[in-house]
Amino acid sequence: MDKEIKKGKEHPLSIVINEAVKIFSDLGFEVATGPELEDEWHNFDALNFPKDHPARDMQDTFFIKDKPGFVLRTHTSNTQIHFMEKFTKEGKIPPLAIVVPGKCFRNESTDSGHEMQFHQIECLMVGENISVAHLKGVLFEFFKRFYENENIEIRLRPSFFPFVEPGFEVDLKKGDKWFELLGAGMVHPKVLENCGIDSKKYQGFAFGVGLDRLMMIKYKIPDIRLVYQGDLRLNQF
């Protein structure tokens, strides 16, 4: 019999993470990662979340017992802060561009579309002239490549997140269906200042996409709860 070892099969989420990272990497983003158990400064305060913002309720966020001021990160945006803090500490100046894949957590009841743990990929680009036009350009290019040159469209709608201004919801049209896919915006000047970047001189965009969702749309996987069962029947791709 064939003695050659047959390659194992990758988890579909890893395939999706790799594809996404590869595309963003090709567009000039550097890969960064950050901690999953995070302090409130990096997960909330530095991102301009007011002290009494509803997202900071125990009903939405996992706080840690006997460790006040710490949470399981609710988004990969914490890594924006880590990266920029280190960046300015080392005396560097923008432009900067990072892509952050990683696991996040929300304290919510699970159903076919929600899990307590999920994966996100986040992009941050800061420079002197980085604009909404660039945000649109990067997102369009990403989805075009990710969904393999299928006819896609994107559109921006006004929205609000504390760490961006202006803020947007971004929809993706794939086939004849619109998907409400991600939140995005221009980095709030306070966030830049919190990391020691001169917001008068520099500006940039940030967005975060749920990778589980991208995977589910890509492969038509109907239920997010299949993803973390350790079941190899999911590794079909």
Binding site: I5, K65, S131, V132, E165
Partner: protein
Amino acid sequence: MKISYNWLKNYVKDLPEAEKLAEVFTFHVCEIEEVDKLPNGDFVFDIKVLPDRAHDLLSHYGVARDIAGILGLSFNEVKYEVPKGEPTKLEIKIETDKCRRYMGRIVRNVTVGPSPEWMKTYLETLGQRSINNLVDATNIVMFDLGNPIHIFDLDKLSGGIIVRNAKDGEVMTTLDNKGVKLTPSDMVISDDKDVLAIAGVKGGKKAEVDNNTKNIVIEVANFDPTSVRKTAKAINIYTDAVKRFENDFSPEVASSAMDEMTALILEICKDAVIQEVVDQYPIKAEKKTLAFNISKISKILGLPISGDEVENILRNFKREYKKSGENFEMKVPDTRPDLCSDEDMAEEIGRVIGYDKIKAEIPTINNSAKSDENFSKIIFTRNKLLADGYSEVMTYAFCDKGEVEVLASASDKKFLRNNLTDGLKESLKLNQLNAPLLEMNEIKIFEIGTVFMKDKEEMHVAYNEKKNIIEKTLEQFCNQFPEKNFGAFALGDIGQGTHDSLNSFPGISSGSKIFVPWSVYPFISRDVAVWMGEGENPEELKKILKKEATHLLIREPYLFDSFTKNGKTSYGFRLVFQSFEKTLTDDEINIIMAKIGHKIKENSRWELR
């Protein structure tokens, strides 16, 4: 917030049709959760108002003002002519610094009864129940201008009105006769004896308006947002009033709300006699001006914007401004405190012009492919294990024992895992049971993930060697390969696993693979082995197997074994049967296997082993 189309039309005569209006909301204002057409011909838009716009969009006036501005339509400002009223003896004392404004007015000789039809219709449209003409009037004004209003039965008061902090343990009885226990951090409205209402949250029983009420006090007030939110949370009562006050509603609106409320009462109670307003306004709203620059706005949006365009928009919104070159100075409306920087104005101008007008542009940034070591190591480790024949699984970070516990979890798994081994063991068990389905002789799996210790988190990797699980830190695993430089990061390293097509980047293609769901019913697996003579093709056998095994065969027959002896070759195929509808029985499969055996025997050169 539910918005009535007809209500908006009172303000904006040339409002576009409902369908078009829905688009205006979606692309220029905010998300719509639902649009309903009602039997009475009205449309209700349930709009999702986010915190930055809660100062103006939680009212029909504010929404109409915004729509008129966006579309450049004329806006019909409604003015209420209210007489000054008779002299009053109403006493209002504010004993807390959390009450920003309190307007009170006594109205005598009111008649409580059913509301006029138009009021009932509007309230029904918004999904509200009509209670009586006075209570309904307070709701109409709140949904119109945003300011919550309360009315007390004047004859039930003992003395004047006091706004103060509650005493520790003080109790207010609600309209539905429940006692709410208060603490000094809760702000209340009281008379000389009792609590009448929890400020900005809910009214109480004592001074409730009933069918016999003759004389009332109208309260139009404004309270500190944080205080209202804290109280609402502490006593777990969320009302429309809370939603408005907790979002820092402008105290400036109170005057017009008092006018409208008074005018409504005079309209529905013809014999009512009004007194003068008592207006305590200790914490005045700041009047702000905002300086912004249009080249900065253009730079943020990535869209050149002219001074004329901006002026046109500001005029449509009836904003007061001064312009000098590229610089504008604008008076900030009381209900738009969210406007306080160039970025805010970029949004304000951008959303009116439409974000679709911004052309997508790829930024040029001189970054070579780079990665932090952690991610490089994850990629390396994954590729290494995949190449060694291991398949990747992901399991939950939550479990029922560990060193780090989360608070208030919705699940019974309250701990974070401190190892991958436990999860991988379970996964191994599951996958071993499914081995025939997976076409694997041996299950080899791995997981890469974070584990949590008392004082640190760590990236681990775990894999099995037969039944044993081997777990290492990512560091330890990678240290086995000292020749590998994790500082260097090559795009080609990503996705070297099973997903070969990734390397044909760009234009990544994974084919049009679509997830195939699995059945929840158990499967049955059977093996068939046949001796074949030289030159015989096992594919022929496979064809027969596929045909005879019926639709219950869920996989291609899988050649799990073959060997040659005395010029004959034995081919062993594994057949896996499973139904999406039921649990299969051995008897059912035995019948199929008997048929297969029969077919094989028909070929004299084959011999069933």
